[in-house]
Symmetry: C2
Subunit: 437 residues, 2 copies
């Protein structure tokens, strides 16, 4: 049997402790599968004394993760510290420079520095595996990087943030407000004390940026993503969506168009009968559409110590199965130096259907004015729902329009026009509709 | 750059021609991804003259696939002939014996001889890849063999036969009979002239047997599978399922139980709101439940030249990325020699919910008799629906029972009892209910 694979883990939070436990509890089975033992020989974390439910006394302790990365007797460096700069970036760089394989769950780091790190890894002939960085336990990186060789991707989209999906699921199921669901998510540990990063779509954007690179062979462009969070979604939107046969999900979408690649994160209406519409709670899902395979959908746990650990252990096992001198495929599917620049498609040229909810004064001529604004912008309507708000002496109406395929520019112009006409009593709501199988 | 990977393809039907086309059309991209060229240097098929939409004049033609496997200048032998014996078995054996990597889409061959072939491959240090053999373009083999390292599987189940799912989908959507939908499936090329193998569940069983081995580390036992096809499913079942919040799918299920492993293929009621219930038409899906990751679901095209070719090309690309001296993980996840014997759980001890549809004489005491038979066998009922059949002068009633969790033995005994009581006017229908997220 080959020599044991020596693993160093930097960061022993929920995920790191879970990885150490799985490597210990499943040692015999992993050895059988990989043809060699996997042993944790070094660890690093801030607090030496904390009980992590796993005996790490056999591993050498490093107070400094960079020292672990550079000097420990390890073959694989596992980075579970987090953050796009600081210790995480320094120790991953150090490990790669020292010619060690790296496994990381750090989406922020990869979204910002992934290509540069990949160049080092490929130059050094080591692996940089990051299955856990996108959609937790779902093997979407392996699928896109390996299984889809030969496929040209047209679109990849998904539910990439469990916090948002949990909130939207509960809003729909229980008729609660966004704020009430967010509070519950925080209480249950699904959302941070400062939830901005999740609910405004930044976390989804980081993951999407990685998928875009894998899908289209482009350099990661995580700052060039159209971003809209879910904090403006109301019960009125969710109810209207339901009546029209849609469900609202926060999607990250990367799509090839004639003018470039769209990268966008926004609340989206998907058909209630689609598979992705059934992805509830903290579950994640990714759909990939290609020329040869067609449409593939993967769904599963997108976060949590164990699900994330599963992906990390899978990455470590892949390295254990490799042998010295072997180099698996490039980090982002194509050699990092050959990744093409990301050519952004302008959001205003986005083509698709739109849901438009308008709260208007209940007076003669309003609907005609709205219809004219739509027609003037060549927007044809698939359905129109209109109903009075409340009951007693209310002089407001809600008008809901669902458009056939049109462009973002047309919709913005039409809605601006309606706003200028002075008929609205509230901010207009516009939600994009996404085709989904 | 490394030397080109030389590929020989035996069998140039729909899938074989599609593989050759993809390797040609995507040559530049595949080279970028794999770090070396992939070239088809040899082919074999029955008819030399047929136009396959791809120029194969650069490849050496072999009339005998076994000669190709043994003597051609190739690194990878791709078997797309089909069948569990004859040419397919002989040429795969010959290729492995000659120390060549093998890629195959042949589920029947693997279900019958997979372990023996894996032993040869592992002894020779070559790869035997078979992603296309189960669920077409869905990367379920890669997921179970690689991504889930460290996970213990509790249950794997799926829609593994597109023909059956197409028929059931149309029966539900259009209210047609099984026979009418089957005829349409045949007309559209989704079903064979003799459809037995698909509709009676044998095809699903072959694929399930392979998944069982990957899931539980057991030797493939494709002859030891409980089998029930879909030809007995009627509109009455589909309508009743819908009313009760279920949809009927033909599932293959492998499940770890206290007394062994269940392998079963049968029509199954899954909750309408579950993800797998939204898998329509010829699409396939596989759900995998493990201790660490939780539940993962993959859905996508399960058949068709291109989807199958996508999986074959992915397998070839994995080999292209490997280098001499490298050995990836074992063929069925664990070394073939260490696969444990399959220990079968008896079907009579299967535990779960059941849907029971009884057509009975409309006379006093019938329902009491049925209720007594259920109670005598400790079966508690979740719901009961009863309605008269037809309208004029009909003396028949339909009784539909949905049980809480009970056992197969109890249900069989109860239904036998009801039958013996002499109240039934038609064969009783029993459909198992499967938990699904």
């Amino acid at each position: 049997m080959a020599e044991a694979l020596r693993v160093g883990i930097a960061g022993l939070g929920t995920v790191g402790a879970s990885v150490a436990r799985v490597l210990r509890d499943k040692a015999a089975e992993l050895t059988r599968q990989c043809g060699r033992e996997i042993v944790v020989t070094a660890v690093s974390a801030r607090d030496r004394s904390r009980d992590r439910g796993v005996d790490l006394s056999g591993a050498k302790w490093f107070d400094d993760p960079i020292e672990l990365a550079e000097k420990a007797d390890i073959d694989v460096f596992v980075e579970l510290i987090g953050g796009d700069e600081g210790a995480a970036r320094s120790c991953v760089s150090a490990a790669l420079a020292a010619g060690r394989h790296v496994v990381t769950a750090n989406k922020a780091l990869l979204a910002k520095h992934g290509v540069a790190l990949a160049e080092v890894a490929e130059k050094k002939g080591v692996l940089l595996n990051y299955e856990a960085a996108v959609a937790g336990g779902i093997p979407v990186i392996k699928t896109m990087r390996e299984a889809m060789a030969g496929n040209s991707v047209n679109r990849v989209f998904g539910i990439l943030n469990g916090t948002c999906n949990y909130i939207l699921t509960r809003m729909e199921a229980e008729g609660l407000t966004f704020e009430a669901c967010l509070k519950d998510a925080q209480r249950l540990g699904y959302a941070e004390a400062d939830p901005t990063f999740d609910i405004e779509g930044n976390d989804t954007a980081h993951k999407l940026a990685i998928l875009t690179s894998l899908a289209f062979g482009t350099r990661i462009a995580s700052d060039d993503i159209y971003l809209e969070g879910i904090s403006n979604i109301t019960q009125a939107d969710i109810r209207a969506a339901g009546e029209l046969g849609y469900r609202i999900k926060l999607l990250g979408v990367a799509q090839r168009t004639e003018s470039g690649i769209e990268q966008r994160v926004h609340p989206t209406m998907v058909p209630t009968a689609s598979v992705i519409a059934q992805v509830h709670g903290v579950t994640n899902a990714v759909a990939i559409e290609t020329d040869i395979l067609g449409e593939l959908l993967l769904s599963g746990p997108g976060a949590g110590g164990n699900a994330t650990a599963s992906a990390v252990v899978g990455d470590i096992a892949d390295i254990a199965k490799s042998r010295p001198g072997f180099q698996h495929g490039p980090v982002f599917g194509r050699p990092a130096k050959e990744l093409r620049p990301y050519k952004k498609a302008q959001m205003r040229s986005h083509a698709g259907g739109y849901f438009i909810r308008l709260t208007v004064h209940d007076r003669t001529g309003v609907f005609a004015a709205i219809a004219k604004r739509m027609a003037d912008n060549d927007i044809s309507l698939e359905s129109i729902v209109q109903h009075a708000n409340g009951s007693d002496g209310v002089s407001e109406k809600t008008v809901i329009l669902v458009t056939h395929e049109t462009t973002e520019a047309a919709v913005r112009k039409a809605v601006d026009g309606v706003t200028k006409d002075g008929h609205l009593t509230d901010k207009p709501q516009v939600i994009r509709i996404e085709r989904a199988g």
